[in-house]
């Protein structure tokens, strides 16, 4: 995967987030041998040992597998945040923040599906914005085809 700042002065916070090709989405490396998907560069597949991978566009919707609300050690400019492990509708797992909810256990519900959103996570000394992804509760989305 290449990592290209966009013309609008934005760069994705990690290279598996694509923000300049239609709606923001994640792209994984799918093993050509067994189909296992990884979100970062790999030399060989941990599942089957195959050595080649192909890009795979990942669905933007999924479900929460686990969460925590981090207080101690949370970055000062972020404050308490909700960390979630999401299983996307194609089975790929991704860790991110759940955004748009208060950082309180009572506000969280495993049963509600989530969908990917993006926001500006920081700006560098040259004015370049880092675009991060997170998940929000998606009460309206019908189950998607993976």
């Amino acid at each position: 995967m290449t990592h290209t700042p966009t013309l609008t002065g934005q760069v994705p916070v990690v290279d598996y987030l694509v923000i300049d090709d239609g709606p923001p989405h994640l792209v994984g490396n799918r093993c050509d041998g067994c189909g296992a998907v990884y979100l970062e560069r790999r030399n060989a597949c941990a599942a089957c040992g195959a050595r080649t991978f192909s890009p795979a566009r990942l669905p933007a919707t999924g479900r929460i597998e686990s969460f925590t609300i981090v207080h101690r050690g949370a970055p000062k400019h972020i404050g308490p945040f909700v960390s979630v492990l999401v299983q996307l509708d194609d089975g790929t797992f991704v860790k991110a923040n759940l955004v748009g909810v208060p950082p309180e256990a009572d506000a969280l519900d495993f049963a509600v599906p989530v969908r990917l959103v993006t926001y500006t996570a920081g700006t560098d000394d040259g004015g370049m914005e880092a675009i991060a992804f997170g998940f929000v509760y998606d009460e309206t989305t019908a189950p998607t085809q993976g």
């Binding site: 998907v37 941990a46 609300i69 101690r72």
Partner: protein, 399 residues
């Protein structure tokens, strides 16, 4: 004659913030204590292994320069929170291979004092976004793409269990800490030795939901050591040494097998289940035969899921198990009567040896006020995140 391996000596320092002692002081106390306990000296050791997560380079040789330079092979070991257990395994494997018939395994960690080496460096101020690493990140992702911090990871492991099984919530996790803090009131070696009420635990500072401060292991310093011998060598030793010997009926190490979720969130369950199942099979012992367990409760959430992973409770029944006080010292199967990592403390490198010290001391009937009466069989478990798991099953000498 068998290929059994025995513990004939063991020692552990108190776990404290030892501000007036350096790491070699702690290492020496545990090592010489274990040798004295076995009635042997460094001259009897044919191999040595030293586990420390944070001491650099040839730290084990620095220890030898305090306790005896006899020219024997030595392994310096790093393996996260399973570092000490990996040192034990290094000695055990040399004996099983026939290269040695007696050896010393030490685990030690000094985590307090100035400039702890384990602190992560702060990100630089003032910068231009440049992609780094295999995910091409342009800024620190902690707090942006969830958490990778220890207490957050183990918290998510707990809420994952709660999602999959009924009867598990904040209160069940807090009850684990209530138990372990109660247990440590009887352990003079523990870093904390006072009881905490359930209310106090649940209303304490939240680190990462559902783990509050007293549900999390403290930072501390300590060391523990064991002397291991072959079965053949044991037969040549004094009757009193043989009487106090404790058999390692199973010693199993696993790492995390591939799982689709593993790169996003470490799976501490599968490798623990694999290690436990192999250990029970090798020892010919089932969970129902155990008299006590020391398991890796770095956080209260971790202990609860390991009740299930180690097959101590009914499948999916960890919440109900703690609710009926089964793992309390007067319950059906005492777990972490030392106080566990939450209350006894967790000097990283020492932990995987300190749990052997604890169980062996009970099996010898020498655990004082915290003795589990009549204990004959015990299990120890450690997890190093990343991940590695070691499970030992120990048995009291038959005579």
């Amino acid at each position: 004659m068998s290929d059994d391996i025995w513990i004939i000596g063991t020692e552990m320092t108190p776990i404290r913030r030892h501000l007036d002692r350096d790491v070699l002081d702690l290492a020496t106390e545990a090592s010489l204590g274990a040798l004295d306990d076995a009635g042997v000296t460094m001259r009897d050791m044919q191999v040595m292994a030293v586990g420390s997560q944070f001491e650099p380079f040839t730290f084990g040789q620095d220890v030898q320069k305090q306790i005896g330079q006899t020219g024997i092979p030595l392994y310096n070991v790093h393996n996260a929170c399973a570092t000490g257990a990996t040192a034990v395994r290094s000695v055990l494997m040399e004996i099983k291979a026939g290269e040695a018939d007696m050896g010393l395994a030490l685990g030690v960690e000094k985590m307090t004092g100035s400039s702890p080496p384990y602190r992560m460096t702060a990100p630089k101020a003032g910068r231009v976004f440049e992609p780094e690493g295999r995910d091409g990140h342009v800024l620190a992702t902690e707090g942006v793409l969830g958490t990778g911090q220890m207490f957050g990871v183990f918290a998510q492991t707990g809420t994952d269990y709660a999602r999959r099984h009924g009867g598990v919530g904040f209160e069940q996790f807090a009850k684990v800490a209530e138990k372990n803090h109660a247990h440590s009131t009887l352990n003079p070696l523990a870093q904390y030795q006072r009881p905490y009420s359930l209310d106090e635990i649940m209303n304490a500072e939240m680190l990462a939901y559902p783990n509050t401060l007293p549900m999390s292991c403290p930072t501390g310093d300590g060391a523990a050591a064991v002397v291991l011998v072959s079965d053949a060598k044991l037969r040549t030793l004094d009757p009193d040494v043989r009487r106090r010997a404790v058999k390692l009926s199973a010693a199993v190490m696993t790492t995390d097998p591939y799982d689709p979720s593993g790169f996003a969130h470490p799976d501490v369950n599968t490798l623990t289940r694999n290690a436990a199942d192999q250990a029970y099979e090798r020892a010919g012992i089932g969970p129902e035969d155990l008299d006590l367990v020391e398991l890796h409760d770095c956080f209260a959430t971790a202990e609860l899921v390991h009740y299930d992973n180690l097959r101590l409770c009914a499948p999916g029944g960890a919440g109900e198990w703690i609710d009926r006080r089964a793992p309390w010292r007067d319950g059906e199967l005492p777990v972490n009567v030392s106080g566990g990592l939450i209350s006894k403390g967790h000097p990283i490198g020492a932990t995987g040896v300190a749990n052997l010290y604890e169980v062996a001391t009970h099996l010898r009937g020498e655990a004082g006020d915290r003795q589990i009466e009549g204990a004959r069989v015990g299990l120890t478990h450690v997890i190093g995140l990343g991940s590695v798991c070691v499970v030992h099953i120990l048995e009291r000498a038959a005579t």
